[in-house]
Symmetry: C2
Subunit: 290 residues, 2 copies
């Protein structure tokens, strides 16, 4: 045995064929095949406990606040009356926790296809799952595409917190789904969906935006920095039936935030020039003014 040598365990996500992010892990807590996907829970040395699905980082204790605040709060804070919210995917409960911070939200329906994600979140990520037992929350374990297709003008904000467009999430990035999303929304309603990295998946991002723009009167894009997601920069597409998602409202917020604030809400819609060009013609542009 070589003096000082120690076991090193690393989780590696091949973010593309040519780029990989590796996180050193202290302990593997759970590794199983669910009915839908491969599920891994590990304790990482740098980002705390982490959930990965099919080899892709979904959430870590240390940086989950960014994605969950930004996908959850931007639409509910900008909608004048976000009484009913539906979330497709997001079985860990992180988005539920965030939207419940807005006092205008009266009902949240979480539609997760894989019940194991929620069971695992309750056990291993109690801070993330903390909103799931709130009386305003309804949990449905079924296909989000089928559920949304049954709704007619019933929700104010629809949030798609999906995995990458492979496997069960593929249908969530297409025009047909956006059409049923638009039908599911009440007048003025907002659809928000994670739309991948503008650096590493520019085609997925711009195609999703194009598909939204073919269905919704107005389409927007905003960005947030997520260190454990590919390239560290993540995009969110918004299809709107009327509400301008770029302006946060004035309702007081219950609970604190660590990434989101009103200025970040507005600034997130300001796009670098190359991102503007990727979504040219499909998105409303944002300016910070003088």
């Amino acid at each position: 045995m070589i003096e000082g040598r120690q076991t090193e365990l690393w989780f590696t996500e091949r973010q593309t064929d040519d780029v990989a992010l590796s996180l050193r892990i202290a302990q593997t807590l759970l590794h199983e095949q669910t009915a839908w996907q491969e599920l891994l829970v590990v304790e990482t040395a740098r980002y705390g406990r982490m959930l990965a699905l099919d080899g892709a980082v979904q959430t870590t204790e240390k940086d989950e606040f960014i994605y969950h605040e930004m996908i959850g709060l931007v639409p509910v804070r900008s909608h004048p009356q976000p009484r009913r919210v539906a979330i497709v995917g997001g079985g860990d409960g992180g988005v539920v926790r965030e939207v419940l911070k807005d006092p205008a939200v009266q009902q949240v329906t979480l539609v997760e296809i894989d019940p194991r994600v929620t069971e695992v979140a309750r056990r291993y990520f109690p801070q993330i799952a903390s909103g799931l037992d709130d009386p305003r929350v309804e949990l449905r374990f079924e296909d989000g595409i089928a559920y949304i297709a049954r709704l007619q003008q019933e929700v104010d904000v629809l949030i798609v917190d999906s995995t990458d467009p492979v496997g069960p999430a593929t249908g969530l990035f297409g025009r047909e789904f956006y059409q049923s999303a638009a039908r599911a929304l009440r007048p003025g309603g907002l659809l928000v969906a994670q739309t991948e990295s503008p650096y590493l998946e520019p085609d997925i991002m711009s195609q999703a935006l194009q598909a939204m723009a073919a269905v919704f009167p107005k389409t927007y894009l905003y960005l947030a920095s997520v260190p454990t997601y590919p390239s560290g920069l993540w995009s969110f597409g918004v299809g709107s039936l009327g509400t301008d998602p770029r302006q946060p409202g004035a309702r007081p917020l219950n609970g604190h935030t660590r990434y989101y604030n009103e200025d970040i809400h507005r600034a997130a819609f300001v796009l670098p020039t190359f991102v503007k060009e990727l979504v040219n013609g499909t998105c409303q542009q944002q300016s910070t003014g003088e």
Copy 2:
């Protein structure tokens, strides 16, 4: 031989003890020890040609525009008369190329400690080094700390494009250097320095800002997304003798940009709540207004 097996070559940067980014490489072009550091040039599969120093990614063809535009253009665009610019480090020439886009810039002094960086950039990264032969540019291969210490109110904008604070760059992050930087600047002048990742090196970032705030009347922080830098989010500290760096001026720009635009200039100063908290008390806060 197993059918279909192929050689895979990967460059891996251990960004911290517990986080690593790996880029698949097609070819190693140069690998040497200079008088100052270990220098590597490889052709990556995803980000084009890449320069690494002491194992850390410095620049890649595909994403170099972001860092160079943001560290170079934010200070010169906001200064009312950035006639003389000094750059410490940045021997590849990327920052020189960007500041020359502002027609108000009359003289640029690049002070690089390692002449091999510049030689290698001219040969392997001609697009990045393209401004180095401009008649407005003076190249000095010497210690930037000693050079700046000799200046008395001579430059309008001083840009510190350094490596991480290990090895020769350590002194560039301390109060003593910021004091001589403040003396080197003309009235109203701006110091801009790269101050690492707010996620992975929050202490380096906030200590650099504290040291600046002890010297400069006003201190600011702004952010940009750089996919090949640790965490994908990078910070830039600004010490100002008077100019407000948050507002771009109206001079026309020679040449196009791919990340920078006037709205991004302003939005880059809008900080996520956790970053605000890290620099609380040392930085001016930015708001996007209504």
